[in-house]
Symmetry: C2
């Protein structure tokens, strides 16, 4: 690896805007990426890829997502706020190109499910559509919206109320093997990656060496 | 892959608490993981691994982190609030075990840099210590704290004011090749993964097929 190069705030200000967007989106590291499925009250569905998903807490089980003040995310946000429900569907190697296609700015009357050839799935009386091709599916109930005024974005917090996972991907301790479920990750705006496990490590304590949980 | 199993809210309530923690932490997908370096006003340093890092926006360049209401994250949060500065240091395959070790609950007078055998690096007059072994290093200025009352956590928002990246990992368009920089990702509480790129995809438009940016 070559020597490090250094940029500061004034260097960023001199760069082209789109270059900064790529750069800063990359620096946050590998990201969780999922398809958010919603429907309006008339049953018109919407599907959009999000790479701003993050864990907020386990008890209650809460996830957060950041919404930018621009389309196509507007349909998703409007549907979440008006109906109170959405689904989050993990993306696998078989569907990541279709998932990326949902980021195109389709007209409001077009369902990205159709445009990206992904299949709506309804189950357990949940209002919002799941993505049938997704191996890990979450039903989420809207809880709270927090305006982040510093850059005009919105944090939406939801509670996971239903979980669908392949039976053989769940460990005895509750750990879900995302690699076995073929879940992928992304970096920057447009780069998709599968993963190779390095290790699972024991709970860290000051006076004890870390061990691998896989050797057991 | 086996048939899906299904859990709902009442199933989660019946599970052991630690099982739910593993399960819900896994379901958010692959996560960004980094070491947050801080110092108090007396120069006592602190280092802690965070897997709750996320991109908030590129202009201004903002990153968010979620703090739970428990140690050892308290030292980091206190230092950020009292000094206004912290570093975020990407984790690579060579240091992920040491990074995990920083999650142990050390006494306040112990620096996790020493305990985990990682090296403090000071440069460009930035107040907080970087991790010398990290290939991608960010200097961050504290901007805002938002209390998430629903589960008593805290969102800390900071602006990236300096960037250090290996020269050969930066593309012409601003994209940073995290794989080349050896940055890793994590899942659940304790699982670490390297990545294998699937593709970089073109900007999606409604009337055009996605192409690979790597074929060019």
């Amino acid at each position: 690896m070559k020597n490090k190069i250094n940029f500061n705030t004034s260097d960023l200000e001199k760069m082209e805007k789109q270059t900064v967007v790529h750069l800063i989106n990359s620096l946050g590291g590998f990201k969780s990426v999922a398809l958010a499925g919603t429907s309006d009250l008339q049953g018109n569905t919407n599907l959009s890829v999000f790479s701003s998903l993050f864990h907020i807490g386990a008890n209650p089980p809460l996830v957060g997502m950041i919404f930018r003040p621009s389309p196509p995310e507007r349909d998703t946000l409007r549907n979440i706020l008006s109906t109170g429900f959405y689904t989050l569907n993990h993306i696998n190697e078989q569907i990541y190109r279709q998932a990326h296609q949902t980021s195109a700015r389709y007209d409001r009357n077009v369902s990205e499910f159709d445009a990206a050839c992904l299949t709506e799935e309804y189950k357990n009386d949940f209002f919002a559509p799941f993505v049938k091709q997704s191996n890990i599916q979450l039903a989420v109930e809207y809880k709270e919206k927090i305006d982040i005024t510093i850059n005009n974005t919105t944090l939406v917090i939801g509670e996971i109320v239903q979980i669908f996972i392949p039976g053989d991907c769940l460990g005895d301790d509750g750990f879900v093997d995302l690699e076995k479920a073929n879940t992928i990750t992304c970096s920057g705006l447009d780069s998709y990656h599968k993963t190779v496990r390095l290790d699972r490590l024991s709970y860290a304590k000051p006076d004890r060496e870390i061990t691998s949980l896989l050797d057991r």
